[in-house]
Amino acid sequence: MIGALISIEAVSKRYPDGTVAVDGLSLEVPDRSITVLVGPSGCGKTTTLRMINRMIELTGGRILIDGEDIQHKPVNALRRSMGYVIQNAGLFQHRTIADNIGTVPRMLGWSKAKARERSMELMERVGLDTSMAKRYPYQLSGGQQQRVGVARALAADPPVLLMDEPFSAVDPVVRRGLQEELLRIQEELGKTIVFVTHDIDEAIRVGDMIAVLRTGGRLAQYAPPDQLLSTPADAAVEDFLGADRGIRGLSFFGTDALTVDPGGIVASDATAQQVSSRATEGLGHLLVVGVDGRPLGWADAARLRESGAAAAGPKGGPAQLLPHGQAFRHGEDSLRVALDCAVLSPTGWAVAVDGEGRAVGVVSQEQIAAAIRAAHSQRGTAPVDVGAAR
């Protein structure tokens, strides 16, 4: 089975004491995508998630999965049709890793052998060594435990995956790895994932759609991440997004349309004459590349024209090489990465490389800025419009 469509229709959760956790929330969760519920604590995001598998019963509205009201399904069958991943993994500490993963398949009546085979398959899928199958949770690191948590949720191949702050308890480096792993798995499996987090950066990184909730359980904005960053619905959402949202939004613009100048590159064995034929306007430095095409560093253009690139080789000549810094992969990396390379470059020019790391051209900050403007106007999301609207 692959993803299912979840319709949340005017759903409310009111507790007997009058507290309203979720208030008239409507969301269409597209199938085969990651929808992130994000917001400050007390915004009802976890409550909303838990209403989908009826760990919390809603008190108003309804939730449909592929058009079927969840209230009409037996509750345990409903829950087994959804994988659930929780903070700290919540593994069964008294069961081995393989048994943890095989819990739901065994309950669904799979044979021991089949469940075990499935556990092994899933361990590989989430990037765990199958030699860990017989270990107990305490023998694993937090990140590894969380991978087991994901594998356990996927065990019975449910169409829906509910993830409740799954990566909040691990350190930032491990978290980043887990996020990438999730995106990779999602590309392969195409589940419908509802993902709760309080971390807006995580939301932007993993989400296809982001629902920003505000305290009191109301929807503030529901949009794809690039749109959220470029046009927040109101000041509260903008505040929640935090600083640098313009720069962060550049992550969603590719560098395919960015023209890079191959004229700024010279081979390390080029003669003075060959160098002279290269004239890139406004470029005081030329990028010297090795015989394999990989960038070596920046050299002063005037010097190179006099003495040729060979003299400025890596061993140091009259013209010392400046470090070329980070390079971006042309067509693969985002405009954000390209801009970052240009900002960090000692010459103000970013180096573009191909998939194999060979230099394909150089591009200036100004050219990147022009590309950003062009990309914005193409999408109709120019930042100035936001200012005018407010």
């Binding site: 598998n53 760990m55 509750v75 345990n76 069958a77 409903l78 829950r79 087994r80 959804m82 659930y84 929780i86 903070q87 700290n88 993994a89 919540g90 593994l91 069964f92 500490q93 008294h94 069961r95 081995t96 819990t103 739901v104 309950m107 107990y136 949770p137 305490y138 948590g149 356990r152 509910l162 409740d164």
Partner: protein
């Protein structure tokens, strides 16, 4: 201690080993009964939180009743039999076992509990397959204290005639002016307690291959989950025994002598 330590006076109508068998029977049966009673009681206390304080109060009050008083009441109904000894000892074990099991079940982390619910594991299965296995270390900590305490308490059965097993030797020591009987009684009882305790530790180790070898990491997790659950149970009334490493936060209750 030539003959005397192992040669029993004839009035006891038991050999040394027979006396040990009787002693273990009178000591372990109450623990088993106590465990069977505690499991449902503790589950109710977990389920209905308001029930826990009155239950604790009740078990503590029962524990405060001297065994002699129990015997006086029970002897009208059950006579000078083993039952008269077993009933109070069973009730005494509750004071240790109920909190131990409640703590153990509560030590299941909220995440693990939520994951179990979310996986569609119903309440009965959840109790048997998740909560109880995870509570095993805490339950065994309680069982150890209850068992050792029970082994030492059996001796008071001597007060109602011939029901003290090894404890009857104490009486004979006085009657026959043979201190060796007292030594035999005390040493044997202590050795039995140590052996029973060791046996329980071994069973616990066999049941919990999933516990970190040092025992420390899991303990810290449990402590955090439990908070200071021990605080609302008040202080134990005797010297604490047992091994804190295995005991978790289980309030270790008094053992021998305090109700004599």
């Amino acid at each position: 201690m030539n003959n005397g330590f192992f040669n029993m006076p004839s009035d006891l109508q038991h050999s040394y080993l027979g006396l040990i068998g009787l002693h273990l029977q009178e000591a372990l049966l109450p623990v088993a009964i106590g465990l069977l009673l505690s499991l449902p009681i503790a589950q109710l206390c977990v389920r209905f939180k308001w029930l826990y304080p009155p239950v604790l109060w009740a078990t503590t009050v029962l524990y405060a009743i001297p065994s002699l008083a129990f015997f006086v009441v029970l002897i009208d109904y059950t006579g000078q039999t083993k039952t008269t000894v077993v009933i109070p000892l069973s009730l005494y074990s509750l004071v240790v076992l109920v909190p131990a099991i409640v703590d153990g079940v509560r030590s299941v982390s909220p995440e693990t509990h939520a994951a179990a619910v979310a996986m569609g594991i119903g309440p009965v299965r959840r109790y048997l397959q998740v909560e109880l296995p995870i509570a095993v270390p805490a339950i065994f900590a309680g069982l150890r204290v209850a068992t050792v305490s029970s082994i030492s308490l059996v001796s008071v059965g001597a007060l109602i005639g011939n029901q003290g097993a090894l404890g009857n030797l104490l009486q004979d020591a006085m009657t026959f002016h043979r201190p060796i009987y007292a030594v035999s009684s005390v040493v044997t009882t202590a050795v039995l307690a140590i052996l029973a305790d060791t046996a329980l530790v071994l069973v616990r180790v066999a049941l919990t291959p999933w516990l970190p070898k040092s025992g420390r990491r899991a303990l810290r997790g449990r402590d955090r989950a439990n908070g200071d659950a021990g605080a609302d149970r008040g202080a134990g009334k005797g010297p604490a025994t047992g091994e804190p490493l295995d005991g978790g936060t289980t309030d270790v209750r008094p053992t021998a002598g305090s109700t004599l």
